[in-house]
Assembly symmetry: C2
Homo-oligomer: 131 residues x 2
DNA sequence: AGATATCGGACCAGATTGGTCGGATATTCG
DNA sequence: CGAATATCCGACCAATCTGGTCCGATATCT
């Protein structure tokens, strides 16, 4: 298949929300708004913090804020922060591919990957928030 | 994640091979050549037959042949034949998405999907076989 | 008739992912 | 200072998905 994970989906929803509302917003607040399991969303947001896309504030009025201009956060940034580097081919993701030396489609697929990543990189959270 | 399944990978390898060699070729032959589990490859090829991308020949000298000009078979055709219609978002693939009405990223993601599909549709098996 | 190929479904096991839980730390407020 | 509330972080469980296998049936050529 060729689909983004629910975690990535949640991450995009949250980032769009943060781009549309100013101030620090807690994970639970966003989770309730979109009916996302709160602990799961929290974990997703934590990964975004670790990758420098979000800034977290602990304490009683804590929450999350975008770390930079939403126009400078692309979809790829989010996907890679949550699910790890994008890999079109199975062999790109650790799975010990038996074909390796015989594989005749890896190189062409890499070129396609570059194009796909470009598509994903061309859209920012800002544009997401405007649509 | 954002990766094509091994089955799709196998399918592309097989189609490329068929585009490069003329005549009817058996699943087992291709499987041995690329060290792919034979029964699995057979199943993959069956799906391609059902979708009209391949023509199968039963019997003792049977095997598979491309159903049409490799330049007229795109990567999307193959992926959709093997893994079903491409769905970027989780909600596109039957998973009963709780967000549905609340979901704020579905429409923008659809536009991205169109672009991705276009990228995949722009490359044909013929081009795959030339690289 | 027999050998070899696809066909087609059911079936199993391992990996991945969605989702949960609990303790630790930081921050604000009474 | 202590209680409340938030993030943090890892371990953990359960369900789904996928890679892979098996078996009987059918078709075709020798």
């Amino acid at each position: 298949m060729f689909q983004l994970s629910k975690k990535s989906d949640y991450g995009l929803i949250a980032l769009k929300h943060l781009a549309q509302h100013s101030g620090s917003i807690s994970a639970r607040e966003i989770a309730m708004e979109y009916k996302i399991p709160a602990p799961l969303l929290a974990k997703v947001l934590q990964r975004l913090v670790r990758k420098g896309l979000l800034i977290s504030q602990q304490g009683i009025n804590g929450g999350y804020v975008l770390a930079r201009d939403p126009a400078k956060i692309s979809i790829v940034d989010v996907l890679e922060a949550i699910d790890g580097p994008i890999g079109i081919t199975p062999c790109e993701r650790g799975s010990n591919c038996e074909q390796m030396e015989r594989c005749s489609v890896r190189d062409p697929l890499m070129k396609i990957k570059v194009k796909v990543v470009r598509v994903l990189g061309d859209t920012s959270i800002y544009e997401l928030a405007m649509n």
